[in-house]
Symmetry: C2
Subunit: 143 residues, 2 copies
């Protein structure tokens, strides 16, 4: 499927960069840090090609995408030691396949409930703080 111009994950324009920061590329996807950090370490793993459903992927791409998601989640787990990772593909309005990787903490927001997509008391950090989180994730991706 061609990259449609109106898709923010294909265009990688301000619609994307305003809400996430690229960390690195993985096998078939790109890992981003979600700027809103109510859930410390929250990331997005976006497929590099424009597909909208898991069943639209060929077997090898699905295998690699699943590995990328697991690898990213594992790095977040090792870096921040949450009680559980939540994984979600929504995309009703932005259907390009992307997983939300959301670490949940037993003493943190929404433990035992679905994470909030856009928490109202937004936790936006400064560049130095984002840098610290990104370095921690990268360190554990490489390990």
């Amino acid at each position: 499927m061609p990259h449609p111009e109106d898709c923010q994950y294909c265009a990688k324009d301000r619609r994307l960069t305003e809400i996430m920061i690229e960390i690195c590329t993985l096998q078939v996807s790109t890992l981003y840090l979600f700027r809103e950090q109510t859930y410390r370490g929250r990331c997005i793993v976006a497929l590099n090609v424009h597909q909208t459903e898991l069943f639209s992927l060929d077997d090898e791409t699905l295998r690699q995408f699943s590995k990328d998601v697991a690898k990213a989640a594992h790095a977040v787990q090792k870096a921040f030691k949450p009680g559980k990772i939540n994984y979600a593909v929504y995309g009703d309005l932005v259907p390009h396949l992307h997983y939300h990787i959301v670490p949940k903490y037993m003493d943190g927001d929404c433990w035992g409930k679905p994470f909030e997509m856009n928490p109202s008391g937004k936790k936006i950090l400064n560049d130095e703080e984002y840098g610290t989180i990104i370095r921690a994730i990268k360190k554990h991706l490489a390990a």
Copy 2:
């Protein structure tokens, strides 16, 4: 990891059967129909062994589980033609790996927003209605 007795996905006891109905087994998982059908066709794909994170699976199990999830979602897509499938692994309190497969409809509940885990205006059907939905999913699983 052994099947802990306090896990409803391992015990398959009333805690499970009160909220879902087994449809069939897949390669490494079991497909259930979620009794609450606000999102027509909503299912759960639960891994057959007790693991709690995607990164805890060996490569082959992760590959097969991902295929099972994609296959179930595809059957739901073909049976009910939603606008988008949502996929989510939460499990803070019930950590045994299970995907919620939630078909979303453009004119339906929560389009463009995360699905409700337990909708307040619960849509509980009768056995005949569940049977109709299960047959439609099974037909497309086999296709």
